[in-house]
């Protein structure tokens, strides 16, 4: 019998536990999001509205159905990109979940239900006085936080990738790491969404959501590529995920404190 079994180092043991920890954390986050979504949609009376429209007396069933639908959509928005972009691990799911909760703008559940109540083709009220620079600024100003977070974040990702490529023989990193071809596509999408916001003003919350969602997915994809290519970035990835998770939890607490009946 061979008794020379070398015990795994502490870091290897921790590395082995990150998958199960990620699963547990993801489940806890989903439960907390469910609780928050329940508070929001019951406070906004979505189930009650649908019950009145359908002529039902009790709203409990519809409340549960609505909450279930919202949490299912949330799960889909995070799971689908992981599957399509081939980042198939609990850690990747948790990282995208953390990014999502930290940055994505909240959309009112009542807004989604009443979206088609009126016309969609409505020019932004900010432009009603006329097409002036001030009016254009007001009409598109909600997108400017992108300048505060998204562009510097992409700059840091680019710098990180460049530094890795320069020092690495890793075949996953090309010899000259660059993703400038992504930026024209992102700028194009941002301009399209801005135009959509101006022309279809009732869709403004959705266009803002879509812009942040596209940026998040792009950043997530690049981040996952960097992490999978360099072991040095595993621990920084965990630290950043924790930071984003704390912000996500704060945002959920703020929702709950605002809507709790």
């Amino acid at each position: 019998m061979n008794n020379n079994k070398i015990p795994a180092s502490i870091s290897q043991q921790i590395a082995g536990l990150t998958g199960p920890i990620a699963i547990i954390l993801s489940i806890i986050l989903l439960l907390v999001c469910t609780y928050a979504l329940w508070d929001v949609q019951t406070a906004q009376g979505v189930g009650l509205y649908l019950a009145i429209r359908m002529g039902l007396e009790h709203t409990a069933g519809l409340d549960i159905l609505c909450a279930g639908a919202y949490i299912f959509i949330l799960l889909l928005m995070i799971l689908l990109p992981c599957l399509l972009l081939k980042h198939l691990s609990p850690l990747a799911f948790l990282r995208l979940f953390a990014l999502y909760l930290a940055f994505i703008p909240a959309i009112s559940t009542a807004y989604l239900v009443h979206l088609t109540d009126g016309p969609l083709f409505v020019i932004s009220p900010d432009l009603w006085p006329g097409l002036t620079p001030v009016a254009l600024y007001n009409a598109t100003g909600y997108m400017f936080p992108v300048l505060q977070f998204a562009v510097p974040a992409f700059a840091l990702l680019y710098g990180c990738g460049y530094a890795l490529a320069e020092n690495s023989d890793n075949e996953h990193i090309p010899s000259k790491f660059s993703f400038p071809r992504v930026f024209p596509a992102l700028i194009f999408i941002a301009v399209l969404l801005m135009i959509a916001t101006i022309l279809f003003y009732p869709l403004a919350p959705l266009t803002e959501y879509l812009l942040w969602y596209v940026l998040l997915l792009t950043a997530f994809h690049i981040w996952e590529k960097l992490i999978s290519a360099s072991r040095n970035l595993q621990m920084p990835g965990h630290i950043l995920t924790c930071l984003l998770l704390v912000r996500g939890i704060y945002r959920i607490m703020e929702l709950i404190s605002h809507y709790r009946l």
Partner: protein
């Protein structure tokens, strides 16, 4: 070369060499394109910032502080300020230094106050450069941009008169105070500045007396430095360190234990222990993950890139700045309110760390400049739009 020209050119060349501006072979200075761009961008930013100051009248607490707080009469002389600040200390709060200076600026009128405010804002950016150990136009520009673009509330911390004095002015002398301790650690062989044992006393006093979180955090920082000097460097403790530390402790005691603080807190409705703990936790979470999030996020990412990605180590003064930032944040757990503008000092400490790391990363990876410029350009644009937004939507609160 004619004697007069030689007398002018040689010192000028020496000055430019000291400032790190590269010289061409014919002796003329060469300002690089990035320095020129930084200068132009800064000029535009400062113009818009000054215009915002001009369009922001005195408002809210400014009106109250324009009076003798004890009698309610308009301020007429310096003695009115002294009398009012004694009343303020006993009945409202401990920030006598900053509010006394506020009253002086209010007495000088709006135009003079705006000029002083802009000057102090420029001085703050320069102080950040000094603590970053890099006094060039690019770092100065980055400091000016970051103090606006990472700020949780530009209007109430950098434009509103009471806010500018409480946060911008006080951060200038706080950084001047911290600079001495950082210098002692980074340049242990350098001689102490002349008479510093004496002028550290008033500087330490006003640092501790500035506000309730930065003052005690700076005092704790001085203690950490002194312990490091004695225990790790095994050197004799310079007297100026002791006088600075003791005076900052005295200032912190004065600002926290002011009778006015207790008079005000008695007016707040009491809460149960559970409610208090939840409220404090929530306000700390909001400050850390909302108000300070941009600064903390970029600082954390840069630290991770520098340490894990580039396998470099932080130096002792980096740890000191980080510790003071964490302490200044944590100290607010003892306060019932943590408004967004109160994160200004902590934000500036994060900015100093960010710029230190950026400068070191650029030395090791000069070609990373493109990424840094792209990020800074975006933040510069955001800073401009922030001031434009203030100009368009400002409704001075009466």
């Amino acid at each position: 070369m004619p004697p007069l020209a030689r007398d002018i050119c040689i010192p000028a060349q020496y000055y430019l060499i000291r400032k790190g501006i590269p010289m061409q072979s014919n002796g003329k200075s060469r300002i690089s394109a990035d320095q020129l761009c930084a200068g132009l961008a800064l000029f535009v930013l400062f113009i818009i910032q000054f215009v915002t100051h001009r369009f922001t009248p005195f408002m809210m607490d400014d009106f109250w502080y324009s009076t003798n707080l004890a009698t309610g009469e308009p301020l007429d002389s310096f003695m009115d300020i002294i009398e009012g600040q004694i009343w303020h200390y006993l009945n409202w709060g401990g920030r006598s230094i900053t509010h006394g200076i506020l009253q002086l600026t209010l007495m000088s009128g709006e135009f003079a106050a705006d000029i002083i405010n802009m000057s102090m804002t420029l001085l703050l950016s320069y102080m950040i450069c000094i603590l970053c150990n890099k006094r060039d136009l690019f770092t100065f520009g980055c400091a000016a941009v970051l103090t606006v673009s990472l700020n949780a509330n530009v209007q109430y911390s950098m434009v509103w008169q009471a806010g500018v004095v409480n946060y911008v002015y006080s951060t200038v002398w706080i950084l001047a105070f911290l600079r001495q301790y950082l210098r002692a650690l980074e340049q242990p062989q350098a001689p102490a500045l002349p008479l510093c044992t004496w002028w550290m006393i008033p500087l330490g006093l006003i640092t501790g007396w500035s506000n309730e979180n930065m003052g005690p955090a700076c005092f704790a920082g001085t203690v950490m430095v002194m312990i490091y000097v004695v225990h790790n460097l095994k050197e004799k403790l310079p007297l100026w360190m002791l006088t600075g530390s003791i005076s900052s402790l005295l200032g912190s005691i004065l600002v926290i234990l002011a009778p006015g603080n207790f008079v005000r807190s008695a007016t707040i409705a009491p809460m149960s222990l559970g409610e208090t703990l939840y409220a404090r936790l929530f306000s700390m979470l909001r400050a850390g993950t909302d108000y300070l999030f941009p600064s903390v996020l970029f600082m954390t990412v840069l630290i991770l890139i520098y340490t894990f990605g580039m396998k470099q180590k932080l130096i002792i003064t980096d740890y000191l700045l980080l510790a003071i930032a964490v302490l200044s944040y944590g100290a607010m757990a003892l306060s019932p309110h943590y408004p967004d503008r109160a994160t200004f000092g902590t934000m500036v400490l994060c900015i100093i760390l960010i710029l230190r790391l950026i400068n070191r990363i650029l030395i090791l990876k000069p070609l990373g400049r493109k990424a840094i410029y792209a990020g800074m350009a975006s933040l510069w644009l955001f800073a401009l739009l922030t001031f434009l937004n203030l100009l368009l939507w400002m409704q001075p609160v009466p």
